[in-house]
């Protein structure tokens, strides 16, 4: 598994949960960084992702992700 810090997205609503915009990941407990500590607005978190979705530097590789999931659902808009 590759580990790196990723931005989070989403509003925390049922239709738009707070998440990392990657197909397969696990947030690492205790690594949360908050944009607003008082409001507990999550800014980024360290995630673990499968090795075949990252490049040689251990960063998420959009081409590999698109190939692995064949763009279904669309992962083209992800930002690592």
């Amino acid at each position: 598994m590759a580990k790196f810090r990723a931005k989070v997205t989403g509003k925390g609503t049922p239709d738009d949960p707070i998440r990392v915009n990657l197909p397969t990941y696990a947030m690492v407990p205790g690594t949360e960084e908050y944009a607003d500590k008082a409001k507990k607005t999550l800014k980024s978190v360290v995630v673990e992702v499968p090795d075949d979705e990252v490049d040689e530097k251990g960063r998420p590789d959009p081409a590999k992700i698109r190939r692995k999931y064949r763009d279904n659902p669309k992962w083209s808009n992800f930002k690592g």
Binding site: P14, P17, P23, L42, R67, Y69, P73
Partner: protein, 145 residues
């Protein structure tokens, strides 16, 4: 009279658990987490050309320290079919406010996930103050579609 053939499935095809199977597991424990909006903690998406048998999952929510104002604290497993919308499939929740109050659910499953389907564990705590502990764990066998 010619030989009779059954109209069953392709008999020569290997069973799903023999088609390049691979076990995928995930496990996460969040301890002393403050109230938060609905957050996806773990996510698994079935790769192209594969299917996955979801064989078991566990989720737990436990109030670690009492809240000032307790509201619903919950854990959920959600399924998003490829191209579809997320459906929160299983949940466990507490609305009581004693440290140690908990709900834990063990799910022995035989859900078949198709290519592009996403399985995710989410947590939410609408309380003011206090903390909760969360746990998610699941296991799938991924195989050639």
């Amino acid at each position: 009279m010619g030989r009779q053939y059954s109209a069953g499935p392709q008999a020569s095809r290997l069973a799903w658990y023999d088609r390049n199977p691979a076990s995928k597991l995930d496990d996460g424990d969040w301890v002393g987490t403050t109230p938060h909006a609905l957050t996806e903690r773990v996510s698994y998406t079935v790769p192209a050309g594969k299917k996955a048998m979801l064989e078991g999952a566990l989720m737990r929510v436990r109030r670690a320290t009492a809240a000032t104002t307790a509201l619903r604290a919950a854990v959920e497993w959600a399924l998003t079919p490829a191209g579809g919308s997320q459906v929160r499939f299983y949940f466990a929740e507490i609305i009581t406010n004693n440290a140690g109050d908990q709900e834990m659910v063990y799910l022995p499953l035989t859900l078949i996930l198709c290519s592009g389907d996403k399985w995710a564990g989410l947590s939410v705590d609408g309380s003011t103050g206090g903390t909760c502990d969360y746990k998610f764990r699941f296991k799938v066998t991924e195989f050639d579609a």
